[in-house]
């Protein structure tokens, strides 16, 4: 199962303060769907406002990105630039 960390304070209102989750999902789309099932509305928040770091590599808008059973997944705020 992927180990998911959502340390950003904007996630806490959705998760009731929980910041770490174990999720079985083959890809990002299914991961978001599972988190939304557990915490309604969280999926939309992730889709709109979060980037997803999988094993150290930051992904944005990457629904098809695969997850390994032992993947480390961090939800972090979306990043722009100048």
């Amino acid at each position: 199962m992927a180990h998911v960390v959502a340390a950003c304070s904007t996630c806490r209102p959705f998760t009731g303060g929980t910041t770490q989750f174990e999720v079985e999902a083959p890809n990002v789309r299914r991961l978001i769907a599972e988190l939304d099932r557990r915490y309604p509305g969280f999926g939309d928040h992730i889709t709109r406002r979060m980037a997803i770091a999988i094993d150290g590599e930051i992904h944005q808008d990457a629904d098809a990105a695969p997850l390994a059973p032992d993947s480390e997944v961090y939800l972090i705020p979306r990043i722009g630039g100048g």
Partner: protein, 759 residues
């Protein structure tokens, strides 16, 4: 000259990538032929101008435009009433999600003016003189309100409120009353209290930075034509024609397919042209007038009404063992957002400790609205501000510990496998190599004279990927055109052409890059976040690779062999079938026969690029301080950076030198100065002092090439990391020169004199 350190696993046999060809836009720019936003003109074009609030905070009681409308030559007048009253909605189009209501209100105030310079009305007239006269005839009745600009004043419970509907996000419980604090974010790890209990040395300090502008040479400019059939065209200078299209459509209630945006040549952006100010207004005026409208900001308008970056307060508490091991860090960042929420404090929080492996920390960020222009992105948004605090504190900690400041940084440096302070585990980073390059550079041990000082600082930026489209089309003579949707703000056209040439096996002179309008190429995110060479370059490379596959198929068809019997070497198809004796078929030869082998040769690729590698920078700065005047002279500056692989090294060096130059200005001179009524007092380059060439030594870049495995040529973004360290590198050098720690930017001569006098 640059030093190179190649740590890539694979040694590619590259013929074009890594060379320094003449830039494709160079001749146009040096001969004046390049068409910038203000250069475009159409028959029957009107002049558009904006009336701006003279108050920092005021209720708009009424706007009477009747006299202006009656003036001969005035063809249109608009106010907020001519724009849809949008609901609050976050929409992804520019640099992350923008709130469409805030964006609309920033283009044209509705009910309230929130800063000096806020647009309240606009006119289109047959001449500039008539437009100015019409602006004077618009009668706006204001009820002046108390204003607040300082970030900590704005956070006070009794501060004048900018928005009655704004409640702080990110708190454990929703607050029961509105505030100017739009959001509080927090990153934590470990046990902060236990960490500080382990510390042998604890350092606490408070730092401040002033709001500074991106300072692009070219003011915002556009021409908009709203057709009678509802089809619109916009020509403008921006960092993203698709961003302009989307925002104009949303702000005016139009379909995006009804708006065609053509990117003008751009005279600098640095993040400041990742949003719209003029384009929706020009379209609204053009719709009313039935004629094209041109709008060009003055420099004063650029300062008063477009995004600077935040002024800020940075509070830092560091704990370390006697051997220099960092054990705890507590950081508070308070950033001005300007009139609407959205300061870069989130990125500031994530980057603050990104260079350090600290087991226990807490970073708290506050996004605070103030009666000043809405901030816009500025190179590595938020990171230089945080780094000024952290890197100054690390320098002070090194002094307390009696350690070499680079050795202290090396001891606590993040490496592959270390969890970044913002969460994920670092992979394929070149930070230690960057530090080593600085440590081993002769500059670091060069002797200094009395009155001179040396400072070092480091910096980090994420870099991003995102959506890009690119097309490569081969002409009948075997030359190629590369088409992308990204304005070229830092040399991306050259890089695009070089990557295509490398794959196709063409000399660079045979590949011409262009930046297309929104109707001629598929969607691309704007040029920003140091993404274009990485992400759009990936699309270009893949498009060229598709063409090579097609060319091999065509050659196989001509030779009547299997496609697996054809290779592509140095720009020609080579037959691998030993039983055949065909001469090689060059790209030109295949292009000449394209009609008989399947038609025109070309390919387009659209993708969302993932895996942008982060950038790290380490800088050394030498200064001399005139103790009589307080003037600081930058004597020598060396900047090392992990750049992945430099596609066009001269452009990469230019990015580093440009970032350093802007950082030096931020450190020494630049600041927004407001009078007691909240009006900007220095809205011009005479009084807002940016560094010019004569203020700076030759900045020596060192390119550290730790290849990014997710890019076909190993590229990482390079445009942002170089502006992160200079603020602290300069301040640390000044500390070494005068023996006094300066904690507030800019380090202007009066402040330095006062600090010396107060010793």
């Amino acid at each position: 000259m640059s030093d190179f350190l190649d740590r890539s696993e694979a040694t590619l046999d590259l013929k074009v990538v890594g060379t320094r060809p003449v830039r494709p836009d160079g001749a146009d720019k040096v001969t004046g032929r390049a068409t910038f936003g203000a250069d475009f003109a159409m028959p029957g074009m009107l002049v558009g101008k904006i009336k701006r609030s003279p108050h920092a905070h005021a209720a708009i009681v009424s706007i009477d435009t009747r006299k202006a409308r009656a003036l001969a030559g005035v063809k249109a007048v608009v106010t907020a009433a001519d724009f849809p009253d949008l609901a609050s909605e976050a929409y992804e189009a520019g640099e992350g999600a923008a709130n469409l209501r805030d964006l609309s209100l920033n283009c044209m105030a509705r009910g309230k003016a929130l800063y000096d310079g806020h647009a309240v009305a606009a006119v289109a007239a047959t001449s500039s003189v008539i437009a100015d006269a019409a602006l004077d005839m618009i009668e706006v009745t204001y009820e002046v309100l108390a204003h607040v600009i300082d970030v900590e004043d704005a956070m006070a419970p009794d501060a004048p409120l900018l928005h009655a509907h704004l409640f702080t996000e990110g708190l454990e419980a929703k607050p029961d009353k509105p505030s100017n604090i739009a959001q509080r974010n927090r990153l934590t790890r470990g046990d902060l209290e236990a960490g500080f209990a382990m510390a042998d040395v604890v350092l606490e300090a408070r730092y401040t930075t002033a709001a500074v502008h991106q300072g692009y040479i070219e003011p915002h400019a556009c021409v908009a034509a709203f057709g009678a059939d509802g089809q619109c065209q916009v020509w403008s200078s921006s960092q993203g024609q698709f961003m302009v299209r989307t925002y104009c459509a949303k702000l005016l209630g139009l379909e995006s397919s009804d708006i065609r945006v053509t990117p003008a040549e751009i005279g600098g952006g640095f993040g400041g042209k990742t949003t719209v100010y003029l384009e929706p207004v020009a379209l609204a005026l053009s719709r009313l007038a039935g004629a094209p409208v041109k709008m060009v900001m003055s420099r004063e308008e650029v300062f008063r009404a477009t995004g600077p970056t935040s002024g800020a307060v940075i509070e830092v508490k560091l704990g370390a063992r006697a051997d220099g091991t960092l054990v705890a860090a507590d950081v508070v960042l308070k950033y001005q957002a300007g009139a609407f929420p959205g300061s870069p404090v989130g990125a500031g929080s994530m980057t603050a400790l990104a260079c350090y492996d600290v087991p226990n920390f807490r970073v708290t960020g506050f996004d605070v609205v103030t009666n000043s222009p809405k901030v816009a992105a500025y190179r590595a948004p938020g990171a230089p501000i945080a780094a000024f605090g952290i890197e100054s504190a690390i320098d002070e900690l090194a002094l307390k510990l009696g350690m070499d400041p680079l050795a202290l940084r090396m001891k606590n440096a993040v490496r592959d496998g270390v969890k970044a302070a913002y969460g994920p585990t670092f992979r394929n980073i070149g930070y230690v190599e960057t530090l080593e390059a600085i440590q081993n550079h002769p500059h670091y041990t060069a002797p200094l004279e009395p009155g001179q000082g040396r400072g070092v600082a480091v910096g980090f930026w994420f870099n991003i990927g995102g959506e890009s489209t690119a097309a490569v089309n081969v002409g009948e003579d075997g030359t190629a055109v590369v088409v992308t949707g990204n304005p070229d703000i830092g040399g991306s056209r050259a890089a695009m052409a070089m990557m295509a040439a490398e794959v196709l096996g063409l000399p660079i002179e045979k590949v011409r890059p262009i930046v297309a309008d929104t109707a001629a190429i598929g969607f691309s995110m704007l040029t920003g976040g140091s993404r274009t060479t990485f992400a759009t370059g990936m699309a270009v490379t893949q498009a060229a690779q598709k063409i090579v596959v097609d060319l091999k198929r065509r050659a196989a068809q001509i030779w009547e062999v299997g496609a697996d019997q054809v290779d592509w070497i140095d720009g020609a198809a080579v037959c691998l079938d030993a039983s055949k004796t065909h001469p090689d078929l060059t790209l030109a030869a295949l292009a000449a026969r394209s009609a008989r082998t399947g038609g025109p040769i070309g390919a387009q690729v659209s993708l969302t690029a993932q895996g942008a590698g982060p950038g790290f920078a380490a800088h050394i700065c030498d200064v001399e301080v005139d103790r009589e005047t307080g003037h600081v002279t930058i004597l020598r500056y060396t900047a090392a950076q992990d750049v992945g692989r430099a596609i066009h090294p001269a452009y990469v060096e230019g990015q580093i030198q440009g970032g350093v130059a802007q950082g030096i200005g931020w450190a020494l001179n630049e600041e927004y100065i407001f009078d007691r009524d909240g009006r900007m007092e220095n809205a011009g380059f005479l009084d807002y002092r940016m560094p010019v060439a004569s203020d700076l030594p030759m900045i020596e870049p060192i390119l550290i090439e730790v290849a990014n495995p997710r890019h076909p040529f190993g590229a990482k973004g390079v445009g942002e990391a170089p502006i992160v360290p200079p603020l602290a590198a300069v301040a640390n050098a000044v500390r070494a020169a005068i023996g006094v720690r300066m904690t507030g930017l800019p380090l202007s001569p009066p402040k330095i004199r006062a600090a010396i006098d107060a010793r």
